[in-house]
């Protein structure tokens, strides 16, 4: 009997050990959304915020100190703990957390961090997962007044403000090395043909790996410069573009192919973003298309990234030929709050939004990453400081009342096409394996496959 009992015990123990071994054991980590706050007892509310604006991400330069400033300002009341997530994995993580109903309180808006609009609409909006910020907006008019009207309008769905709208627009242009490329007039004042002629043998820092960001930006400018191109892009932001065989796209791709074959830096094939940036900051390329956030790479503090005699002094910023800048205010803002968050977490999140959209923080953001805050009356101190940053002030000055803002090609592509397929096809366009028509046809095929 004893032996029998011992046998049963052994089997039960074995089963328990195996099963508990698979369950992950005890963890003291508080899951996002669980709300490890102690507000009721008057203690500090703490929240973990998974974000890609950390580590090596260019956005971290402003964002992490901003969170630090917030934590300092509200020491003892609120505290945000940053959880660093690589940008390429952020969307996947959020999608998984959404499936498990464990979303963090603050989530990056679609269009950033790889979160696609399609998912946001069919999962988050369709299931009412985003917290309505209308009350917060009405209670904080000083914050609301800083939000861009177009963005606020777009973020209002069925009468609910489901995302924190944008207060700063960061138009994307280009940078060129003024010791290599010496245009007779500002690039924005040129027609596309003039620009193509002016570049001569100068090289572009293209990308053909990852999402081919820098190449996609130039393609956007090329499409925008086609007859009706800007409107064409704008009309597909919401529902995505699944057919790339339109003459405007084919024509822009033809120009891109010529540039890839005659004006691409030597490392273009297989170049990831780091390779493209390196080509520009080592004088292997004279022009790179990128946003204002790259400006910090041209500060003296980033001199360790420079080589081959490159200096930040040689860089001039401008927008695209035809007076185009890439910016799209009709997006779901910056962040949204998950409805599953606890009341304390929501309180903290709203406090952070109010802090981030305060005049001081907006000005600090524009000084660090560039851009414009159209609803803000800048302080004199800000204007003085902005004038000191040559590159950002150049970019700001390059935009005037005639500047046209266009949505990016990445805004209209389905997620997998924007993230990988576009970049994967570019080497074949560059080496001539694909004609522009074939390239567009294959892009269409990829987009069709991505369609639900």
């Amino acid at each position: 009997m004893k032996r029998k009992l011992a046998g049963i015990m052994a089997a039960v123990m074995a089963a328990a050990t195996v099963i508990s071994g698979c369950s992950g054991g005890n963890s003291k980590t508080t899951a996002p959304g669980a709300g490890n706050s102690e507000n009721a007892s008057g203690k500090e509310i703490q929240m973990t915020f998974p974000t890609y604006l950390a580590g090596e991400n260019v956005g971290a330069v402003f964002f992490l100190p901003e969170v630090e400033r917030f934590n300092q300002k509200y020491a003892g009341k609120y505290k945000i703990v940053i959880e660093e997530v690589p940008q390429a994995q952020y969307a996947e993580k959020i999608k998984q957390l959404a499936q498990q109903n464990k979303l963090p309180a603050i989530v990056h808006a679609p269009g950033s961090g790889g979160i696609d609009l399609q998912w946001f609409k069919s999962v988050v909006l369709a299931n009412g997962m985003a917290y309505d910020l209308s009350e917060f907006a009405n209670a904080n008019p000083e914050v609301k007044n800083n939000w861009i009207d177009d963005s606020m309008d777009y973020c209002t769905v069925d009468g609910k403000l489901i995302c924190k709208p944008l207060s700063v627009l960061k138009p994307v242009g280009l940078y060129y090395n003024n010791t290599m490329y010496k245009p007779e007039k500002a690039v924005k004042d040129m027609k596309l043909d003039e620009f193509m002629e002016s570049i001569g043998d100068n090289k572009f820092a293209f990308q053909t790996a990852e999402n081919a960001w820098t190449s996609g930006l130039l393609l956007t400018a090329l499409i925008a410069n086609q007859e009706g191109g800007e409107t064409y892009l704008a009309q597909y932001v919401d529902d995505k573009l699944y057919d790339y065989t339109d003459a405007k796209i084919v024509s822009a791709i033809s120009i891109l192919q010529k540039l890839l074959q005659s004006n691409a830096s030597a490392n273009t094939i297989g170049a990831a973003y780091a390779d493209a940036a390196n080509a520009f900051m080592s004088k292997s390329a004279a022009i790179i298309c990128n946003g204002s956030w790259m400006a910090s790479d041209f500060d003296e503090e980033s001199a360790d990234k420079w080589s081959n005699g490159f200096t930040g002094e040689e860089v001039t910023s401008d927008i695209y030929p035809g007076n185009f800048a890439i910016a799209n205010p009709r997006v779901f803002g910056e962040f949204w709050i998950a409805n599953t968050a606890s009341d304390e977490e929501k309180e903290l999140a709203k406090a952070f939004f109010a802090f981030r959209d305060s005049k001081e923080e907006i000005e600090q953001l524009v000084l660090t990453e560039g851009g414009v805050a159209p609803k803000l009356d800048y302080s004199d101190e800000f204007l003085k400081k902005q004038a000191e940053n040559r590159i950002l002030s150049q970019l700001a000055e390059s935009m005037d009342e005639n500047t046209r803002y266009t949505a990016s090609i990445f805004d209209v592509m389905p997620a997998s096409v924007a993230d990988t397929e576009f970049g994967k096809l570019l080497p074949k366009l560059a080496d001539g394996t694909l004609t522009p028509e074939e390239f567009c046809s294959q892009l269409t095929q990829k987009a069709e496959e991505a369609k639900n």
Partner: protein, 298 residues
């Protein structure tokens, strides 16, 4: 089964319940972590599902779309090519190494270490290492070639038709599992069999060709199964190097599966998963038949 049961003793019959009891943990784990996901994959592969909202039954549409997709057909073609390479060159290399180590020539211990060490490095790490090796600017390969041909420039992972072979290089030499399985069988070959062959005047080649190789048939078959099924599931080596490009040159089914998930097409992704599952079963059956793995060797 009935006959077997009737032949068993009372003591053996009493022990059955203990056998089943000890099997219970494994059975539970299989049901929870394997069978239920497999059933979910099968069921949802016939649906349109975004991974969050309720799946909608659409019959065979996912499978029809799959077999009409050029990317999928290219992936199948790539899989076929990689399977042939795996079953011949990859397994062949592993078997050769097993015979070399079995023969214990001078320096065999050193060879064994050199051969085994790279195999403990993960596939993902190898992918990154090869990305550097094959880099046009700073890669060791092109720098070596440029000593003889200064104008040589090829981005192995990003140009056709090199990308396919560059990806192949990230796994082809790492056949330690095949080597270990075959070596194990070689060491189990009865000494009398070898002796008898030698007495009959068999040369070393004849001994290898007609005695040792046939006696390792099951191990080689196992190696082929492992090798080909690894190719069906191969993901890191491609994602971290070419991401399936240039174009679709190095595309495979797991990549389509992951892309489908990022496009919120979970039903379609699961149809891909089902195809991988069925391909695995077909490979298993085909190799079993080819290598007569269910027949006794001795």
């Amino acid at each position: 089964m009935k006959a077997g049961k009737s032949n068993s003793t009372v003591l053996e019959r009493r022990n059955y319940k203990w056998c089943y009891l000890f099997l219970l943990p494994s059975l539970l784990i299989f049901l929870l972590f394997y069978l239920s996901p497999i059933l979910t994959v099968i069921a949802t592969s016939f649906t349109k599902w975004d991974g969050f909202n309720k799946p909608v039954f659409i019959g065979l549409k996912n499978y029809i779309d799959l077999f009409h997709s050029k990317t999928f057909l290219i992936s199948l073609k790539n899989l076929l090519a990689w399977s042939v390479i795996a079953a011949t060159l990859h397994v062949g290399f592993g078997v050769l190494m097993a015979f070399v180590l079995y023969a214990k020539p001078k320096g065999w211990k050193f060879t064994r270490v050199i051969f085994m060490v790279p195999n403990v490095i993960s596939a993902a790490a190898w992918a990154m290492i090869y990305k550097f090796i094959f880099n046009d600017d700073m890669g060791i390969l092109n720098n070596l070639i440029r000593r003889f041909s200064p104008d040589f420039h090829v981005q192995w992972f990003f140009q056709s038709p090199y990308a396919f072979w560059a990806v192949t290089c990230t796994w082809i030499f790492y056949a330690v599992i095949v080597t270990l399985v075959v070596l194990n069988d070689l060491m189990a070959v009865p000494e009398e069999v070898v002796e008898a062959a030698r007495v009959d005047g068999a040369s070393p080649w004849q001994l290898t060709r007609h005695i040792m190789l046939p006696l390792c048939r099951n191990a080689i078959g196992t190696g082929v199964i492992c090798s080909i099924t690894s190719r069906i599931a191969m993901y890191e080596q491609i994602r971290l190097t070419t991401a399936g490009g240039p174009g679709d040159d190095t595309m495979n089914i797991p990549l389509i599966l992951v892309n489908s998930i990022s496009d919120m097409k979970y039903g379609y992704a699961n149809a891909n998963g089902m195809v991988m599952f069925v391909l695995g079963l077909i490979i298993l059956a085909a190799v079993n038949i080819t290598f007569r793995m269910n027949d006794s060797i001795y």
